[in-house]
Amino acid sequence: MSKYLVIESRDPFDSADVQNLYELAGGLAEQADELTVFLVQNGVLPTRRGSAAAGQITALAQRVSVVADEFSLRERGIGRDALAEGVRVADVETLVDLLAEDGRKVLWH
């Protein structure tokens, strides 16, 4: 059973290669049994419903689990009611649980 954790710490407006990460996650979704994209730091910025990238996030969330770090959201004043459809909110303990899962492959960007 293949499981992946992709941690995105950047936003697509600052780092153009974030698009590649979204594409990688979408591609992995075709083959992986379970894939979580965990957004931290500025990686949570596109989760705002009004963001130009929100559509991509929602599309990704239809294929894989997309999770936004609660701490990073709070730091940036992004409320749960402002999130794009499909985005779940979790704390760093959830991230640690995913890291500790047997056999899960992890990528930080």
């Binding site: 931290v40 730091q41 303990e93 640690v96 890291l99 500790a100 899960r104 992890v106 930080w108």
Partner: protein, 131 residues
């Protein structure tokens, strides 16, 4: 419980990544996991014992009022919380280059070889690169 190896490269006070890495390490040890940290390049400065908080002359606040956190104090707190389940290696070559050998109690000197051995022995490895 798992053993998680984390490689850090960012120096202190530069990026939010340091905060995120500290949150992960702290949460992991509090959950009972064992954590290995390999500090490479600028990250060897995270544990320097001579770090000192400062006042804010713009706001006119004192050191005490400012309560400015230092990375070495955060790391010392994580060692305490880990109760023996946190191992921290500072890359020796990186330390020598930076003159960063005076560090707090807890970390030890090592080499990339230690990181390779940790990777082989750990349940998980998280590499957090610089931008």
């Amino acid at each position: 419980m798992a053993t998680i190896t984390i490689a850090l490269m960012d120096p202190p006070y530069e990026t939010e990544t340091t905060t995120t890495a500290f949150r992960i390490i702290d949460a992991a040890v509090r959950k009972g996991h064992s954590v290995n940290v390999f500090a490479y390049e600028g990250a060897v400065n995270l544990t320097m014992a001579d770090q000192a908080p400062h006042p804010d002359p713009v706001k006119g606040t004192s050191v005490e009022e400012q309560d400015h956190p230092t990375t070495k104090d955060w790391i010392a707190a994580m060692f305490k919380a880990a109760d023996g389940r946190l191992d921290w290696v500072n890359c020796g070559l990186c330390v020598d280059e930076r003159g960063a050998g005076n560090w707090i109690e807890g970390p030890r000197r090592g080499a990339p070889k230690d990181f390779v051995e940790w990777v082989e022995a750990s349940d998980q490895t998280l590499v957090i690169p610089t931008k």
